[in-house]
């Protein structure tokens, strides 16, 4: 693939409640994009095309046509080509794929990608119902309270059935994500209380929300936006020259993977009955991205930003990335592989559990964090010496999966 460079990026503080600030989501897009331009030292007129990732503004904010809101960020954007991309929780990554494809095709040299979601505009039960539209709503979510914790609880059950699964390992995943989030100044939960004992507690403060999934196993309901600027090699080379930096120091998207499985969770599981992996299409997404990046296996990956919408999804990611044999994810947890300072830290940012999960922004936030890691600019949650970081962003119950390898 032609090189696609990441010139700059910015995310909003995911602890903010934009409904309490009484703001429209365009304010979120504006802050993310203006912060990105400042970070990249570019002007609005440098941006040639914009792609917006958003899951469900029609439901949360009764507003469609989200791509067009990019133009409202700055008068200089008037006339710019825009589009909105939706694939549930993978929306941000789909926007990145579209933008990078356009750069690879040579249509444009500079693209902005903004992921955005405003979720605190409704109560948790209504929000849970909206999220149900990421599943096959009529068959899996209609009339069900909090359908997604239940679906990802079933993922845990499937692991339990095939290989055995202990709550202790899920609790450890939760505790690591929350601990990492404390190092991230943009993380939603950075000042919340959480530790392993609490994640293992079974009283009224850590109730079950979907089978084996408890409150401590869940990602957050989050308002937030994240943006990056992608550029062609031609633009990046000029950009580097002008600023006296090496082109090689600018992070780039080295590889990508993208697959879609059947919508219903039970159909996915039925398909994978005799397969090595519980979610084989997710596995293919990960290995496709590695192959395209010229990285033979996970030993070439220094850190991972994965889609821990629930602890069970991170548990699944561990073996699907190849950190352990299928069904042995617990080993990587016990051996300290995934903790910050381990061989391959997962979610140094805190992930969706610790940093937050504004649905349409998550894929962009993951790539932004990957870019920060490989350029040694992640501050207190820096993985020392990281050169290649891989993301995994999942829409639905493992339905749409997208992975990027970002490196220098």
């Amino acid at each position: 693939m032609a090189n696609v460079y990441i010139i700059g990026g910015h995310q909003t503080d995911f602890a903010r409640n934009w409904s309490k600030e009484r703001k429209h989501f365009v304010a979120m897009m504006r802050e993310a994009m203006l912060g990105t331009l400042e970070n990249a030292q570019l002007d609005p007129k440098d941006i040639q095309v914009a792609h917006v990732g958003n899951f469900a503004a029609e439901l949360y904010a009764k507003q469609g046509h989200i791509g067009a809101f990019f133009v409202e960020i700055d008068p200089a954007f008037s006339g710019i080509p825009t589009g909105r991309h939706e694939a549930a929780c993978a929306s941000g990554s789909i926007a990145l794929l579209a933008a990078s494809a356009e750069i690879e095709a040579g249509r444009y040299d500079v693209a902005a990608v903004v992921g955005v979601e405003q979720m605190k505009s409704v109560d948790s039960k209504t929000g849970g119902d909206f999220l149900g539209t990421a599943a096959w709503y009529e068959l899996e979510a209609k009339g069900v309270d909090f359908p997604f914790p239940k679906l990802f609880g079933k993922l845990g059950d499937e692991y339990d059935k095939r290989y055995g699964l202990k709550d202790e390992h899920l609790a450890a995943i939760s505790a690591i994500n929350y601990a990492n989030a404390k190092l991230n100044p943009n993380a939603q939960t950075r000042s919340w209380f959480m530790n392993y004992e609490h994640a293992m507690s079974r009283d009224e403060y850590n109730g079950a929300v979907g089978g084996r999934v408890r409150i401590s196993d869940c990602s957050q309901v989050t308002d937030g936006a994240a943006a990056v600027i992608l550029a062609s090699e031609k633009f990046a080379a000029e950009y580097a020259k002008k600023r006296g930096i090496a082109l090689e120091s600018i992070p780039r998207i080295k590889g990508w993977g993208h697959n879609t499985a059947r919508l219903r969770f039970e159909d996915k599981v039925a398909e994978s009955k005799n397969a090595e992996y519980v979610l084989p299409h997710v596995r293919t997404t990960i290995t496709d991205a590695m192959r395209r990046a010229g990285i033979p296996d996970v030993s070439g990956i220094d850190a991972i930003e994965t889609h821990d919408c629930f602890t069970t999804s991170e548990y699944m990611a561990i073996d699907h990335f190849g950190l352990t044999k299928p069904g042995e994810s617990w080993k990587a947890i016990e051996e300290g592989v995934i903790a910050l300072g381990g061989k391959c830290p997962i979610n140094p940012s805190g992930g969706l559990i610790g940093a937050g999960h504004p649905v349409g922004a998550t894929g962009v936030r993951q790539v932004l964090d990957a870019a920060k890691q490989v350029t040694d600019t992640a501050g207190d949650y820096q993985v020392e010496g990281a050169k290649n970081v891989q993301t995994l962003n999942i829409g639905g119950s493992g339905t749409t999966s997208v992975s990027f390898v970002v490196g220098v």
Partner: protein
């Protein structure tokens, strides 16, 4: 650009801070006054980071009530395994002797606190740290009469309520506090307790309450002539705050407000001294009608039986329905809020700087007073404006003064101060035009501008 030297510097600073936070062992903490709001709140924060915390109160039962409140605040029962409860009579000396850090949160009465510190001084190990959560009493005065080792290891650690939500925390040395103790406590509080630490001097109200209550009290003074409803609209969320000033006084409590401003008025002399004097009508309502604010279901605002909003008339001491109050044209507030709603904060504040009419002028007077007073306190209350910025942002949830200057532009901010008839602080006058004064890149400044 991701090639950031400052991030590398930050990485090193973070590492050094983490190493410093680990350099002393804080395994046992004692909280005195653990049944009070600040006691159980701070106790909860310690219990989330330290293996053994002892909650002490007049009786063991009261300490246990504090623990129950701490569990409820953190929404976990797991800290019960780390917390022991006891009474002053039965447990203070033994617990203090074993403690690495003693945290005092008893009632804000100087002599009472001194009594406790005398007992702590007699029982503590010479190397243990002692902190007070006082919001207004002098650290030096609290340390008077104590041993050398006590004074060396003693300082203020002022949490704001509720500390699990508000992370801004003031760290205040006494004149004999060992600098190494302060450095350690700062690192420990940041890394282990999740605090944003602001170092202040031992001045009345320190930095946050000095600046914050000046603004609140000025709003209360102006309410006498203009009415609480108008003042809270004028100094409303659109000026950079989550909660309006008079509603804040109602929430804090009139008694607490009075204690804080009386203390500052008595012990300080500054260019805005008269704005800190408690309005006579408040004193009278407190003394004659028992006004306390929300906790007594009175204050500037309350509700009648059917839930509709009532507003105090400070001139008569009676309530009138909010609906019956005629307000001047406040359309400029709506326009500014609409800008904030779209994230156009500069545009919104530019409208504020130029909005016509007496009402807008009054609003600017309060905000100009806030900015000027903050910049004048640099050197007196904190070493830099960043200290005041951080405590106003992370302690009060108000737009920090530097953020207001950055968003307004220096010239507009100076013009606003001049329009209010105030002296332009030298620090602000000397600032280079166009240079950003707020230098904390990890904080989103947009969060302070509420579209209400």
């Amino acid at each position: 650009m991701f090639v950031s030297q400052s991030a590398l510097g930050e990485l090193k600073a973070g590492k050094a801070r983490r190493a410093l936070a680990e350099s002393r062992s804080i395994k046992k903490v004692v909280v005195l006054g653990a049944n009070g709001t600040m006691g159980f709140g701070s106790g909860a924060i310690f219990a989330s980071a330290v293996p053994e915390v002892t909650f002490l109160a007049r009786t063991k039962e009261k300490a246990e009530q504090g623990l129950a409140a701490a569990c409820k605040m953190l929404r976990t029962n797991t800290i019960q395994a780390r917390v022991k409860c006891g009474s002053y009579d039965a447990d203070l000396e033994r617990a203090v002797a074993e403690a690495d850090l003693i945290f005092e949160a008893v009632t804000e009465i100087l002599d009472l606190k001194r009594e406790f510190f005398a007992r702590v001084d007699a029982a503590r190990r010479p190397d243990s740290l002692v902190c007070t959560v006082t919001s207004g009493l002098s650290i030096n005065s609290l340390a008077e009469g104590r041993s050398d080792s006590f004074r060396k290891n003693f300082c203020g650690l002022h949490f704001f309520n509720p500390p699990n939500v508000i992370v801004g925390t003031e760290l205040i040395p006494g004149k004999e506090t060992d600098p190494a103790v302060l450095d350690f406590l700062e690192a420990f509080a940041i890394e282990k307790l999740g605090r944003v630490i602001i170092r202040t001097h031992d001045t009345p109200g320190f930095a946050g309450n000095r600046v914050g209550f000046k603004v609140l009290n000025e709003a209360a003074q102006l309410a006498e002539e203009h009415g609480p409803l108008l003042i809270d609209a004028l100094v409303g969320p659109y000026t950079g705050r989550a909660m309006t000033p008079l509603a804040t006084i109602d929430l804090v409590g009139w008694d607490i407000h009075r204690a804080i401003v009386d203390n500052i008025v008595e012990l300080t002399k500054d260019e805005a001294h008269e704005t800190l004097e408690l309005p006579a009508y408040m004193k009278e309502l407190m003394e004659k009608q028992g006004f306390l604010g929300r906790k007594a279901k009175n204050g500037f605002f309350t509700r009648d039986e059917d839930g509709s909003k009532l507003v105090l008339d400070p001139k008569t001491g009676r309530y009138v329905p909010a609906k019956s109050i005629a307000l001047p044209d406040l359309s400029f507030i709506k326009e500014i809020a609409e800008c904030h709603r779209r994230g156009e904060y500069e545009k919104g504040m530019a409208l504020f700087a130029k909005a016509p009419g007496d009402a807008a002028k009054l609003a600017r007077k309060v905000i100009a007073g806030y900015i000027a007073y903050s910049f004048e306190r640099v050197g007196e209350c904190t070493d830099t404006i960043t200290g005041i910025d951080l405590i106003m942002g992370m302690g009060f949830n108000w737009a920090p003064p530097s953020v207001l200057v950055d968003v307004l532009g220096k010239d507009a901010a100076v013009a606003m101060i001049e329009e209010a008839g105030l002296r332009v602080p030298k620090l602000l006058a000397d600032a280079k035009p166009g240079e950003k004064l707020f230098d904390v890149p990890t904080i989103n400044i947009g969060r302070f501008f509420v579209a209400g």
